[in-house]
């Protein structure tokens, strides 16, 4: 059995009560509630408030924040902290996220549980630092070189920034994978009521520490869920951790095709084969719908108005809102595709980053209509309404 132990939040990190917070501050509170005790970051709009709040809160909670010299440093300092035993995150936006790519690959390869928060802004390059986009979704998934799988979570509100970053930390620990917490500027700077529950009502996963003793423990020997159990530096196991292709002892085997194949397949399979335990989505009026809008983050929220307008004209429209975007809930998407006239996918990018993946999953069962938007704003609900009406024809 995999060593997954659920517990409740450490009260030191939990500000129980009703608050009026923006998404960035709520994400920080969620991270603290999830047990994050180390963050490294570098200032970048529109994400900086997350680490500013962390820097102000962590001394009393017990932990460390350090502003590193760049995002490259931040994205590996947090991995050092994880191997020393803490839960850790880094926070950034577009250009910083680009700089972090190599270390997302390192975390995937070394199975380092950690959270990368990306408060998305418009790109490419410096783009629109103060305005939203959802154009890093493919980068979050495939941005580092090589083969690997990650998990990406996307909140639609400050409350969800709190709630779902806890999921992000839990998923990181269960699957020993870097989890991308894909916010956007709009959700990050939107201020709403956020309820922080009592610590005993917040479910938190502990690190999956091994039961084995030094000598019998192999650092990269998978448990029955394909994920290895973990140790930390200083516990007497004298582990070796490398970004090179490695065997179950953690020893490099960079010219061994068999070892490489086994490792990379497992890194992907631990997400594919456990995907049914990772998926999270929400549905509204999908039963009997002619059209289903599939979206995530701020766009799913804006889509509600477009859906409402279509429903006012008697169109049966449902919504499937992805909370975990990667991996996609493929069987449910196919099930819906078999029953509807079309799937409409609004998102804040023009290349249909998630829509194309939905189209691949749907595989011709019904048309998939992307409603692209270059970002620096959100959709006009009329555009989503028009796409729905067009799809009906």
């Amino acid at each position: 059995m995999a060593n997954i132990k659920w517990t409740t939040a450490d009260p030191k990190g939990v500000l129980t009560g009703a608050h009026y917070l923006d998404g960035n501050h709520a994400a920080c509170e969620g991270a603290l509630a999830a047990g994050c005790r180390f963050a490294a970051g570098y200032p970048i709009t529109p994400s900086t408030e997350v680490v500013e709040r962390f820097a102000s809160r962590i001394p009393e909670v017990g932990g460390v924040f350090i502003q590193m010299e760049d995002e490259i440093a931040s994205s590996i300092a947090l991995q050092g902290a994880v191997w020393a035993g803490l839960k850790a995150m880094t926070v950034t936006s577009g250009p910083g996220f680009s700089l972090m790519m190599e270390h997302i690959g390192l975390a995937a390869m070394t199975e380092t549980p950690c959270v990368f928060v990306n408060v998305q802004r418009g790109g490419p390059s410096t783009g629109t630092p103060t305005l939203p986009a959802q154009a890093d979704m493919m980068q979050a998934r495939w941005g580092s070189h090589g083969d690997y799988e990650i998990i990406a979570v996307s909140p639609s509100s400050p409350q969800e920034c709190f709630d779902f970053i806890i999921d992000a930390f839990n998923l990181a620990e269960i699957y020993r994978v870097p989890v991308m917490f894909m916010m956007d500027e709009c959700v990050g700077h939107m201020t709403e009521k956020v309820i922080i529950p009592e610590p005993e009502k917040i479910k938190v996963v502990e690190r999956r520490w091994t039961d084995k003793k030094p000598g019998e423990y192999l650092p990269f020997e998978p448990d029955d869920d394909l994920v290895p159990n973990m140790v930390k530096a200083g516990d007497g196991y004298r582990i070796h951790v490398t970004g090179l292709t490695h065997d179950e002892r953690g020893y490099p085997a960079a010219t061994d095709v068999t070892v490489h194949n086994k490792l990379v397949r497992r890194l992907c399979d631990k997400i594919y084969k456990n995907a049914h335990k990772i998926w999270k989505w929400e549905e509204m009026d999908t039963d009997g719908a002619e059209i289903v809008v599939m979206s995530y983050g701020i766009s799913a929220r804006v889509a509600l108005r477009g859906i409402e307008m279509a429903r006012e004209r008697g169109v049966k429209v449902g919504l499937l809102r992805l909370i975990v975007v990667w991996p996609l809930p493929e069987p449910r998407i196919r099930e819906i595709a078999d029953k509807v006239k079309a799937i409409v996918v609004p998102e804040l990018n023009v290349r249909a980053q998630v829509a194309r993946e939905i189209e691949r999953v749907v595989a011709g069962r019904c048309p998939v209509i992307p409603v692209g938007h270059a970002g620096a704003g959100v959709h006009d609900p009329n555009d989503i309404y028009n796409a729905i009406m067009e799809a009906l024809k």
Partner: protein, 289 residues
């Protein structure tokens, strides 16, 4: 019948012998430095379970993988920020970064200067073999002026870094340089560095016979050891401005250049928090284990 008695090499306990033979070329200086390091660890008595070693990428980047310690072979140039996270998250650990000149001073140069500036409590051992060995002998920020490398086939037009001066000017509290000829001195400085609180830096000049020396017709490793012996001048405490090695023919100034005290990043962090937050603040890494 004669009886051969066998005594285990005292450094064997530090080595992942199941990973031998190592990848380093005959005549390479990295192994010599590792031998000194293992003996230094033995001498200074740090509990081995509380000692972690972090490397970047390259020939010296492989050191972490051969030491029977908690060892992390990270990405190119980023051993120092990884070590920073490791140390801050568990200040009980002794954290050593062991990497090469290209890794630490070129791609990782930004991290090197900031860790020195912060007086982060990590020890950095930089094996300088004057070129990129793993990738086949390219020019490094340490290559002697005018010397050949695969990417400077007509000679390097760049003035190399004076690494001790670089880190000293950023605030490192212990800075030394030795060559692989100076094994006793190197081991002694490593012991001092391991015991030192704060950012300690040791540059180890080492031969790369396969690439740098052969391409530049500098002879064998033995010739370089002779050069190290003949050209080295020990000058403890000398101003690090004076220790640049620009040309192969220059005298090589070795010794312990800096040995001073100042609060580490964590000392300052704890002090400032205590001052501002009073009893609400429990100093981090003092009694939190």
């Amino acid at each position: 019948m004669s009886v051969t008695t066998y005594r285990e090499n005292p450094v064997e306990q530090f080595l992942r012998t199941d990973r031998m033979p190592h990848i380093w070329c005959p005549g390479c200086g990295i192994g010599t430095s590792v031998n000194c390091f293992a003996r230094a660890v033995l001498e200074c008595g740090i509990p081995l379970d509380k000692l972690a070693i972090v490397s970047g990428i390259g020939c010296t980047g492989r050191v972490a993988g051969y030491l029977r310690l908690d060892s992390f072979h990270t990405t190119h140039g980023r051993a120092i920020p990884f070590a920073t996270g490791l140390k801050l998250a568990n200040p009980e650990l002794s954290v050593v970064v062991y990497s090469g000149d290209g890794d630490l001073a070129a791609i990782g140069g930004n991290h090197l200067i900031h860790a020195a500036r912060r007086n982060m409590d990590i020890k950095v051992i930089c094996v300088n073999n004057f070129n990129y060995g793993m990738t086949g002998g390219q020019v490094a920020p340490t290559t002697h002026f005018g010397r050949l490398a695969t990417t400077t086939p007509y000679g390097s037009p760049e003035i190399p870094f004076n690494l001790p001066h670089l880190v000293a000017s950023c605030g490192a509290v212990f800075v030394a340089r030795w060559t692989t000829y100076h094994v006793v001195q190197l081991q002694r400085s490593m012991v001092k560095a391991l015991k030192k609180k704060g950012f300690a830096f040791i540059e180890v000049l080492a031969p790369c016979p396969t690439l740098y020396m052969r391409r530049n017709r500098l002879g064998s490793s033995v010739d370089m050891m002779k050069l190290f012996k003949e050209k080295s001048v020990v000058k403890h405490g000398i101003d690090t401005k004076e220790v640049a090695i620009t040309n192969y023919e220059d005298p090589i100034i070795v010794g312990e250049f800096v040995d001073t005290e100042r609060p580490t990043w964590l000392d300052n962090y704890n002090e400032i928090m205590k001052k501002r937050l009073g009893d609400k603040y429990v100093p981090w890494g003092v009694n939190n284990g």
